[in-house]
Amino acid sequence: MALTGFFLVSFLIFHLTVNLFLFEGTGGDFSKFGAFLGSFPAIRPIEWILFGGFILHFCLGAYVWLKNRRARPHGYGVKGTSKTIKLSSRLSIYTGLAILAFLAWHLLQFFVASRFSGSTVNMYELVAREFSLLYVVALYELFFVILGFHLKHGFQALFQSLGLRTARYRGFIDAVGVVIWLLIPAGFASIPLVMYFGGAR
């Protein structure tokens, strides 16, 4: 879970970096990047590795969730409270499923269009068209809240699982974690908002 999670976080950072070029407007580097990546010879295997990463991460998560449900067949009569158990950790499986559902829709919107439509699509215009629709923008915003919640638990957990969250590094990891779970989703979330309210350029 930790390794695939780390891989997916790296992808998110890369994806966000590329997406921020959308702010340059049409004819900017966003579409050039798309064209460059599309013509990059290793892009197909990299794509498969990425999809594999998503699927593996999901399968491992589902396995752990099922195993843990079986570990306590009879619950407690009085539900205890805990200072340390965060809602984000208990909801991980559900936020993860939501991300998967979003991903399917997201790929249909952009990836399938750019990859299988045959003709060359101007990716900037496609994105601008989608983000001129209020319901698309609203769903994306909702999704980024969910994504942030998923990362809030996931990022620090990844280092604990790899045995790196020692007393010495705990503070540092948690600080970087805040940057990751707040800034990455916020960065993504800014794009639909700016494009909807700022209009396409």
Binding site: G75, S82, Q160, G163
Partner: protein
Amino acid sequence: MDFKLKIWRQRDAADAGRFENYVAKGISPDASVLEMLDVINRELVAAGKDPIAFDHDCREGICGSCGLVINGGVHGPFEHNTTCELRMRRFHDGDTIVLEPFRSRAFPIIKDLVVNRTALDRIMQAGGYVTVKTGQAPEANAIPVPKKIADEAMDAAQCIGCGACVATCPNGSAMLFVAAKVSQLALLPQGKAERKERVIAMIRQMDKEGFGACSNTYACEAKCPKGISVEHIARLNREYLRAGFGSK
């Protein structure tokens, strides 16, 4: 002090079990939860009824035998104490107190509040030891250990094996227990020689017993009577990874 009690009664492993209501009257504020149960049991026995079964031994927080879930909290609603150390003065007169057994697939109920925690013993048998020639204890200064390492090993060695970590973990995971036992040995020179085989064997046994997997909620650390840190779980993960990658 007077209390209303709801206590889990279950004749044996096959019985479905249910909560039953009791009243405890005139309990000393300095009595522990277990001593309150002693009072109730004396009355039950006098009335010819079956006393409430519960585990206990040292009654001073060092043996790890006791363990009840009290008002939804493992070893009670407070932190860093065992059930036997929890005094009734920490409750209010007239409170309703709910007593339940530890719940985990790996800890089947034997009777009432007594659960079978031998799964933890089997994990220890799988690797929680050092293979050394028996004989006299060596001279203490023969093997120098840096103070910081010795302290960390001592912190891990505080584990009394009560199973509170399992009972409080939303996943019923025994990782804090295993982490404490692995850490205690892996940190010291005597334990280093077998660190690889040990961690693999203990993790394998832990999985076999039906404990859940750690999802890093850190609930265990908060309820461990000895306050054992989840930092030891990070070390356990590290030990397991290095064992898997073959480095000594």
